[in-house]
């Protein structure tokens, strides 16, 4: 029998509670085999399945994604338009805020699903969804404000290289921090549930 992409199904299952993973993945597989594959063919059916999984992943993580994106864009906006005199304090505030967000999202994911794999997956998914949103926000700001004064402020805060590379390289730290949060979340779930 035809199978949807296994990795996509694994992502779906790992983000859900065990009960939802069972029933929701079953519903999607049934729809994939019953109506999507016969009418659209293999490639488009696989793309449909991946799209559905991304939709579920977005619904599970959008709050964290928007918070993290806002933090990234806000950090750059602060550096560009109100350059701090002491970058050490600004850096500490934004770094610890980002750490807290990933730890918290990993914690809630593990508390909800009782699975450390869920916290790892949530951290990765949040960083992957947040990267294009953050980059889009930064590009928009850059398209509107690129006068010499702003460009000088950008250069003093680490330069465009840092601005564009930071959101992309958050994946690994996000996984580690979400895993740390997941340990707390799983412990909390076993104590309070």
């Amino acid at each position: 029998m035809i199978q949807p992409p296994r990795w996509a199904e694994a992502v779906l299952r790992v983000l859900m509670t065990p009960e939802d993973a069972e029933t929701i993945s079953g519903d999607l597989i049934e729809q994939y085999r019953d109506s999507v594959f016969p009418s659209k063919g293999r490639l488009r059916a696989d793309l449909w399945f991946i799209g559905q999984v991304l939709g579920f992943a977005w619904r599970e993580t959008w709050g964290w994604v928007l918070l993290f994106s806002a933090l990234g864009v806000g950090r750059d906006a602060l550096d560009w338009f109100m350059p701090p005199t002491d970058f050490l304090i600004r850096s500490a505030v934004t770094t610890y805020s980002a750490i807290s967000l990933f730890v918290l999202c990993g914690m809630f994911a593990a508390y909800r699903t009782r699975s450390l794999r869920a916290s790892v997956a949530t951290g990765l998914v949040v960083s992957l969804f947040a990267a294009p949103i953050t980059l889009g926000g930064i590009l928009l700001m850059l398209a509107i404000w690129h006068d010499p004064q702003t460009m000088s402020a950008i250069a003093h805060s680490g330069g465009l290289h840092e601005v564009f590379s930071l959101p992309i390289f958050m994946g690994i730290p996000a996984i580690i921090l979400a895993l740390v949060g997941g340990l707390f979340g799983k412990a909390a779930a076993s104590i309070f549930s």
Partner: protein
């Protein structure tokens, strides 16, 4: 008056009414798509089902899977009395809004 239901919530609840004992996730999605005559994301239906269950308008139970879904369990839904009330109230609210008007509206009224 019970909770005011959105149009999509009504579509999902009415699908459960129509499907009776066969109201599980995939069947509800299919019924909603047929009635609304458009593609609907599975995630949208599942999120709505979860929300309606949280509001105690529907209840669910797990049932056996089938071969086509790799034996994965199905979650069957049924309306709670509060769900029936909410649907009746929503219909009554629409009827009240339309009272005295001839449907379909034609041109400028």
């Amino acid at each position: 008056m019970a909770d005011v239901l959105g149009a999509f919530e009504q579509a999902v609840l009415l699908a459960i009414v129509r499907l009776r004992d066969e109201a599980y996730g995939r069947a509800v999605l299919k019924e909603v798509q047929t009635r609304l005559e458009r593609e609907v994301a599975a995630g949208a239906v599942h999120a709505t089902l979860a929300r309606l269950e949280q509001k105690n308008l529907i209840a669910s139970r797990l049932g056996p899977g089938t071969t086509i879904r790799n034996g994965r369990a199905r979650r069957f839904y049924r309306l709670q009395p509060s769900g029936v009330r909410a649907l009746n109230d929503s219909r009554a609210a629409v009827d009240t809004l339309w009272h005295g008007l001839k449907w379909p509206l034609k041109g400028h009224v």
